[in-house]
């Protein structure tokens, strides 16, 4: 099963069926990761480049491991030392990488829409690893994967997304994905960090944190970007933690078995207390593992798009499909 598209630029461009397929394949990939062997041949001979214009450890490493587990050749382009620092445009950089034979370019960029610009100008497949305040599709996919593993289905689940929604591409991708999959995202954060007309995306804006958390099936904290403080969006970390932070004194409002999630990296004691991060319902570390599985799935589903012949992966994946769809 392959995705019938060149690029994965955002959740907005994926149908519910496509999302389900990615999550299905991701569960196969997760089994491969957990099997201990970790090495498969699906991307042998393919070249995967990560082009990161923004600092990132977990996402870049996660993509790189995903590609390596699939036997792709991987190269990380360190932007500060590349010709980008010399003023090369994104399109020129993309065309150069394209000419070098990149099959898949994974891009992270501080500007919304940068992956779309790249995708339009290269033959390689492009995966968006986070663009500005726009989308972070693989994060949303791994979050949905994590939720689905526990609840089997996303339908009807109340997912509370709490924190800096304004700057958050994770929130935007999750809102779109959750709605497509039938869940009910509810958001809350300081009003200076809630983007204009957010409800147009389908999420419900809660008036209070208690209201957002009440009877939630999933609680997702968002990273507070502390460097934003100088823009007068919130007064102090202390006040933020007190009124907008997730901690044991408000998490009890969610359902007893609710999943506690965070895309990381976490500011301990700001948007989430240590008791929550390391708490009984926290699946934050599992999210990291699932991230690799989801990214493997996407890489697999995008590679070899050009070959007309449908790959019969009943033959190449040792785990029978029946088990996956059971």
């Amino acid at each position: 099963m392959k995705l019938n598209k060149k690029d994965v630029l955002g959740i907005s461009e994926l149908t519910a069926d496509e999302i389900s397929s990615v999550l299905d394949i991701a569960s196969i990939m997760k089994k491969i990761i957990l099997s201990g062997t970790k090495k498969t041949n699906y991307l042998r001979g393919k070249t995967v480049l990560t082009l990161f214009y923004e600092n990132s450890t977990r996402t870049r490493v996660s993509f790189e491991l995903a590609a390596k587990y699939l036997s792709a050749d991987t190269i990380n382009i360190n932007v500060s030392t590349s010709s980008v620092a010399k003023g090369e445009t994104l399109i020129d950089t993309g065309k150069t990488l394209d000419s070098m034979g990149a099959d898949i370019i994974i891009i992270r960029h501080s500007m919304s829409g940068a992956p779309h610009l790249l995708a339009k100008n290269v033959n390689s497949s492009v995966i968006n690893a986070g663009d500005g305040m726009h989308e972070h599709p693989t994060q949303a996919l791994l979050d949905m994967f994590t939720i689905r593993e526990y609840y089997k289905s996303l339908k009807g689940l109340k997912v509370a997304i709490i924190g800096d929604i304004y700057h958050s591409r994770v929130a935007r991708s999750n809102i779109m994905g959750l709605i497509k999959m039938g869940a009910k995202p509810v958001i809350f954060g300081p009003s200076t960090l809630i983007p204009t007309e957010i409800e147009s995306m389908g999420a419900k804006l809660s008036p209070t944190i208690d209201d957002a958390l009440y009877q939630a099936d999933v609680v997702m904290g968002l990273r507070m970007q502390l460097e934003r403080q100088k823009h007068a969006l919130f007064p102090t970390k202390n006040e933020y933690a007190k009124f907008f932070g997730l901690n044991e004194s408000n998490m009890y409002l969610a359902k007893e078995n609710a999943l506690w999630m965070h895309p990381g990296p976490v500011n301990r004691g700001v948007e989430m207390s240590s008791n929550v991060i390391d708490g009984r319902n926290s699946v934050i570390n599992e999210q990291v593992t699932n991230g690799i599985a989801v990214r493997m799935a996407l890489l697999y589903m995008l590679s070899g798009k050009e070959s007309k012949k449908e790959v019969n992966y009943n033959n190449i994946i040792s785990i029978p499909m029946q088990e996956v769809y059971a």
Binding site: M111, S112, G113, H116, L117, G132, M133, R172, P195, T196
Partner: protein, 427 residues
């Protein structure tokens, strides 16, 4: 040289009727139905409108300093192509047009090599920095018709007050670019549902409206007439309407993109639709059209803002603001306002020729016996699709590529000379 324009419908700010025009040595000597006489050139305008040459109160010719985007030659050619016979160019050149040397350069080059009349607008403040007054008197002597820091807002209200007070002595139009840059922050498109979905920083309508209100209040206090640039919001129109009702001497302009496009044009990170102020919502477009019809908005300007492809073919956040407008302004306005029945051709002539000339205090914008012949012949019956590759301008940055429109300028006469005929130019 004698020119006879026959069988066209002459449209002025006052009437539309079939008249022949006879031009001798650059001057209109006869304006009369069925008038015939020996001429060196007879232009058959049957089925076309014959308009007073269009006057653009707001454009960027990019000369000196940014000749790779446009220069006075290519810019005035583009203007002539679009039916403009007079253009007023903004001061954000390099060096900035904040002194008589740059103003003289523009006027001299335009006189030597330009295809239409060029009226430079001087900067309000030195270097467009919004701090110290520019040499407005010196520039007035050198030939400016107006002052503006367009592209930037004079943020400091005290400086703006002094600009208005000082300008009053020199009889120059005061053209205000209204934008509270603190509110804009790093905004790149209209603030709303779409900017939220696209993850782009929004530019609130308030950022424009606050400065419109401020400049109107200063104008009221000082009794200095002001002209508000490129109005894009419904409430901005409302503020101006109120000011006019209260007798404050304010005039206002909008541009064709503010009554033909909404923010939806930005979808897909289309940098061609990135402009400042940004394209707004449907209700704003409706209010702009209403404001044009009821006279709140006096004129239509192009804000012709050429940019090289390299400045548009980049990430939306860092793409240049603006679009080229000379060659699309009249067809777009005709299609969106006249063909739809919102206004008469005569009203459109008022908005694009007579009134802008009045605001700039220049003797243009009329077809009358004894006046210099600046005339535009416009055939409203030609339907076509806008093709940016056919633009005469050096730059092709337009969101209107592929737009169906009606009406084409076939001839542009400047000082009694047919400068542009069906895309051929004579200097």
């Amino acid at each position: 040289m004698k020119i006879l324009i026959r069988d066209g419908i002459v449209v002025t700010n006052e009437y539309e009727k079939k008249q022949n025009i006879f031009i001798e040595d650059g001057i209109i000597t006869k304006l009369e139905e069925n008038y015939l006489a020996e001429a060196d050139l007879v232009l058959n305008a049957e089925g076309s409108y014959v308009l007073p040459g269009l006057v653009d109160a707001h454009c960027h010719l990019r000369d000196p300093g940014f000749e790779y985007k446009e220069d006075i030659v290519s810019g005035t050619k583009s203007a002539a192509m679009g039916g403009f016979t007079s253009v007023a160019c903004m001061a954000n050149t390099n060096p900035v047009a904040d002194n008589k040397a740059v103003i003289r350069y523009i006027i001299d080059k335009a006189q030597r090599e330009g295809y239409v009349h060029v009226f430079p607008i001087g900067a309000m403040t030195k270097g467009l920095k919004g701090e110290e007054l520019a040499e407005i008197g010196e520039m007035k002597q050198a030939g400016i018709v107006a002052i503006s820091d367009d592209g930037r807002c004079v943020e400091n209200s005290s400086v703006m007050k002094k600009v208005m007070q000082y300008a009053k002595m020199f009889d120059v139009a005061v053209i205000c670019h209204c934008e509270d840059s603190y509110l804009v922050e790093e905004g790149v498109m209209n603030e709303g549902a779409l900017s939220t979905q696209m993850g782009l920083r929004g530019i609130s309508k308030a950022s424009e409206e606050i400065m419109i209100a401020r400049d109107i209040i200063l104008s009221k206090q000082l009794g200095v007439p002001i002209h508000i640039c490129h109005v894009s919001t419904a409430f901005g129109v409302e503020i101006i309407k109120n000011a006019k009702r209260n007798g404050i001497q304010v005039t206002a302009e909008t541009c064709p993109h503010y009554f033909t496009l909404t923010e939806d044009a930005c979808k897909g990170y289309n940098t061609m639709a990135k402009v400042n102020p940004p394209l707004r919502n449907k209700e704003d477009v409706e209010a702009i059209i209403k404001g044009l019809c009821d006279g709140t908005i006096d004129i239509i300007a192009t804000d012709h803002a050429p940019h090289h492809m390299n400045e548009k073919n980049v990430e939306f956040d860092i793409a240049a603001n603006g679009l080229v407008g000379f060659e699309t302004a009249l067809p777009l306005s005709f299609t969106a306002l006249v063909k739809t029945g919102y206004m008469s051709m005569s009203q459109l002539v008022q908005k694009m020729s007579t009134k802008p000339a009045e605001i700039l205090r220049i003797d243009k914008g009329r077809i009358m016996e004894g006046k210099m012949a600046d005339i535009t012949i416009f055939n409203p019956n030609i339907d076509y699709v806008i093709d940016v590759d056919k633009f005469v301008s050096k730059s092709k940055n337009s969101p209107f590529n592929g737009f169906p429109v009606s009406g084409k300028v076939t001839t542009t006469i400047v000082n009694g000379k047919p400068t542009q005929r069906d895309g051929s130019f004579v200097l």
